[in-house]
């Protein structure tokens, strides 16, 4: 961990657009803040998780209206949505229902859900970078 005096605050004004960009596209918040290597790393890793998940027949269900018979499905869909634009792009390309008969169906769901959940951590990290808490 570097000394706090070596950290460079990007400025609190940058925090909100950085968080929005980080949600829209994994790593975009860090690219906006000038953390190019980190941003490209997030873009590659989270993008690959999501794309592989969709390729493995993941179901990209919209979490609303809430189906109370299956509340965990709402949480899973919400996690998938946290990846931002790739989720909307995949849905608009027709990757919605998935294929429950595919042997990779649950793998696909797991990959896309974990990608979204990790992107929430990336959004929080972009906020911390913007306000100077992280280098």
């Amino acid at each position: 961990m570097p000394d706090s005096t070596t950290r460079t605050a990007v400025g609190a004004r940058s925090a909100i657009p950085a968080c929005i960009l980080a949600w829209l596209l994994p790593g975009a918040g860090h690219l906006y803040l000038g953390r190019t290597a980190k941003g490209l790393g997030f873009l590659g890793a989270l993008g690959a998780l999501f794309v592989l998940g969709v390729a493995m027949d993941a179901q990209l269900r919209f979490p609303f209206p809430v189906v109370f018979e299956d509340p965990l499905a709402v949480l899973r869909s919400t996690a998938q949505m946290a990846i931002g634009l790739p989720y909307l792009a995949a849905r608009s390309l027709g990757f919605v229902s998935g294929d429950v008969t595919s042997p990779l169906f649950e793998y696909g769901n797991t990959f896309t859900e974990v990608g979204g959940l990790l992107n929430i951590l990336v959004i929080l990290d972009a906020h911390d970078v913007a306000v100077g808490r992280r280098p």
């Binding site: 997030f42 590659g44 998780l49 493995m56 990959f111 992280r134």
Partner: protein, 57 residues
């Protein structure tokens, strides 16, 4: 691509990359932490697999 082991390795590699970028600040410690995290993922899956081996299928 239907190999469970291959999917485990891909998943562990990608998640370890994100954890390393999030939790460490310089390239050397990121590499060390990423490899440690990847190894922990793979080893824990093998350990869980062996623990479940006696259970009836």
């Amino acid at each position: 691509m239907a190999s469970h082991l291959a999917l485990l390795v891909v998943f562990a590699g990608l998640v370890s990359t994100v954890f390393a970028l999030l939790l460490r600040d310089d390239a050397r410690s990121r590499l060390r932490f990423g490899l440690l995290c990847f190894g922990a993922f793979v080893a824990s899956v093998f350990a869980a697999g062996w623990l479940m081996y006696p259970l009836p299928g």
